[in-house]
Amino acid sequence: MTMEVEGGEGKGKTMLCLLTDPDGNPLGTPVNFPLNTEPQHLQQIVNQLRQNEERLPYAFYIADKELVESLGKFAEKNKISVEKVLHIVYQPQAVFRIRPVHRCSATIAGHTEAVLSVAFSPDGQQLASGSGDTTVRLWDLNTQTPLFTCTGHKNWVLAIAWSPDGKYLVSGSKAGELQCWDPRTGKPSGNPLIGHKKWITGISWEPVHLSAPCRRFVSASKDGDARIWDVTLRKSVVCLSGHTLAVTCVKWGGDGFIYTGSQDCTIKVWETTQGKLIRELKGHGHWVNSLTLSTEYILRTGAFDHTGKQYSSPEEMKQAALERYNKMKGNSPERLVSGSDDFTMFLWEPFLKKQPKTRMTGHQQPINHVCFSPDGQWIASASFDTSVKLWNGTTGKFVAAFRGHVGPVYQISWSADSRLLVSGSKDSTLKVWDIKARALKLDLPGHADEVFAVDWSPDGQKVASGGKDRVLKLWMG
């Protein structure tokens, strides 16, 4: 390995640095770098040390600050002593780069009441939306027109979820019933699943790397219990009861546990074969509004990724999904972040212990939605105090606040390469935020009333948003 040394060596012109990966393992030994090394030189070096076949992009962080200019300038700015060994953490960036969406390509009307939830299928080919007019609609992305209207619910459709293999779509309504749909024909597959006594607040599918084809999903309801359903048996197999107040959100983790957050201020971790309570995570002072897992994006998209490869058999899909999951997770345990009405969030490692790892304070109003970035590096939180805050995904430290909205921010969604974030708010605008620059990238006005739901398609091409003005807007790059 050769290294270009410019300007001669000597204590004043070089710095002793050690490259470490995000988990803390050092890459090679401490090396003397000249002070005018730029990040692209460091990228070359990392690629060589790791013996990557293709040139993968990396971002470098020194003490949580990103290195954008040369080492020397950075050291000057932050007054780092050249005597000590400097630890530079490198983070792999996504190979593909998503173009930011900046125009509304279509405004599709169709719903007769407010659109309450939108979701892209895991392969990004289909789009579904649930609304207050009790229907679920499927939309054609190529022609940008309505495809199917699925009627059958008795009250507002509050939650929809695609199975990670893309074969089923499940929707839950205010009447407490769940309905399974076949997205290719738009017909219901079976009768509505009855069991809950009050409205459904959230639905989460079992990850495809645990069982393929996808059969089970868990639903959370206002009546305080979560139920695991089997679509092939068409009934509730396990009922997870234990919460004293409404369960506001539920997530099926990649390690096979179910996490439920509730208005009784606790988060419970359940085992899935018999429905036994494993852990109870206490700490919040008010309702737990939202949960997110570090591997959430991988669990949602299953075996599909940006290459757009289609799989023929469930075993293949399971294998591919398992590979992706293991690559993403690495050696560290799954992390869970919960956002609450007490204006704070907790970062937990539920596999290890039941005390939170970090408490993330800073918001001034209840936090409505928290979301891990697809690569697990960042956590974004949307709150009623009109700001979106960015936190470090491993330590939970505060990084930046995105201000610009003038009304409570309802939902956020990450782009597949983790470089962009879109947020929808009560003030009827969507805003795209750039993570690298830590600033607003684009403003997307156009909705006539509050925006209730946003989603970025997994292939990164489109953003879909729906709200109180009853139209679905598709935004393209």
Partner: protein, 260 residues
């Protein structure tokens, strides 16, 4: 109804008649038919009163029957699909609806348009013209009666000069002119002696406003620079409105309450 207990005593001593209970049962059974007969035959006021009582009984009976029927069937909680659908994360948060806020703003706008302000004395006794003006006779023969003297307290500005006596119609006697008012702050309950800047509105009419007449209920503008009030933007407030609360021509001073 028996006034003593002799019936009970007899029953205790000698018991009941052998057919007592049978007769009682049959009489009660016949009561139904008897009632129906009276309902059909009763005339006049008696009939009306009876019909009214009977109707009340019938309505009550119907209600109890419905109540009993309800509890015997199991009914699912069947909500209708309401308007104004909101996502799951907003259902438990009840805020004032947009309609209510809109309604409030409309009401506010209407109030402003009508000019109805929120003042401490909303209504005052109207002052008649003959009470307000005293007719002054002028001319050689004292026949001309076009001059008027104002009998109430007035405010004239600092730069006031009388019109030439030949042409002035309204005379404001200098004894009844006031420059300062005793203004009370309603919250602090303290009274200050503040200079009057001008008369904003006299409820008796805009003629009196232009003349500067101070009667009970008049809105005046006073100089509050003494109080040291500052606006949220940081500017110093030096003029505020106040409403006159007494009859200055009787008391000899102007008392007012500050409008905050």
């Amino acid at each position: 109804m028996p006034q003593g207990d002799y019936i009970d005593l007899h029953r205790k001593r000698y018991g009941y008649r052998p057919d007592h209970f049978e007769r009682k049962r049959k009489k009660e059974a016949r009561l139904v038919h008897k009632r129906s007969e009276t309902a059909q035959k009763a005339l006049g006021i008696k009939g009306k009163m009876f019909a009214k009582k009977r109707y009340a009984e019938k309505a009550l009976m119907k209600k109890t029957l419905i109540m009993h029927e309800e509890s015997s069937t199991r009914r699912k909680v069947d909500d209708d699909v309401h308007e104004g659908s909101i996502p799951a994360y907003l259902i438990d948060r009840v805020y004032t609806t947009r309609a209510k806020i809109l309604n409030n703003t409309i009401k506010q706008k209407r109030k402003e348009k009508a000019g109805k302000w929120d003042v401490p004395l909303p209504k005052v006794r109207p002052v008649a013209e003959d009470e307000m003006f005293k007719i002054l006779r002028s001319g050689k023969r004292k026949t001309k009666q076009w001059k008027r003297m104002i009998t109430k307290a007035t405010f004239v500005g600092p730069g006031f000069t009388r019109k030439p006596p030949k042409y002035e119609r309204f005379i404001r006697p200098s004894g009844l002119r006031f420059t300062k008012a005793h203004v009370t702050h309603p919250e602090l309950k303290a009274t200050f002696n503040l200079e009057i800047i001008g008369v904003k509105k006299n409820p008796n009419g805009q003629m009196y406003t232009s003349l500067g007449v101070l009667t009970k209920g008049t809105i005046i503008e006073v100089n509050v620079s003494e109080l040291g009030l500052v606006t949220p933007a940081g500017k110093v407030v030096w003029g505020k409105y106040a409403q006159v609360t007494n009859n200055p021509e009787i008391d000899g001073c102007v008392n007012a309450v500050l409008l905050v």
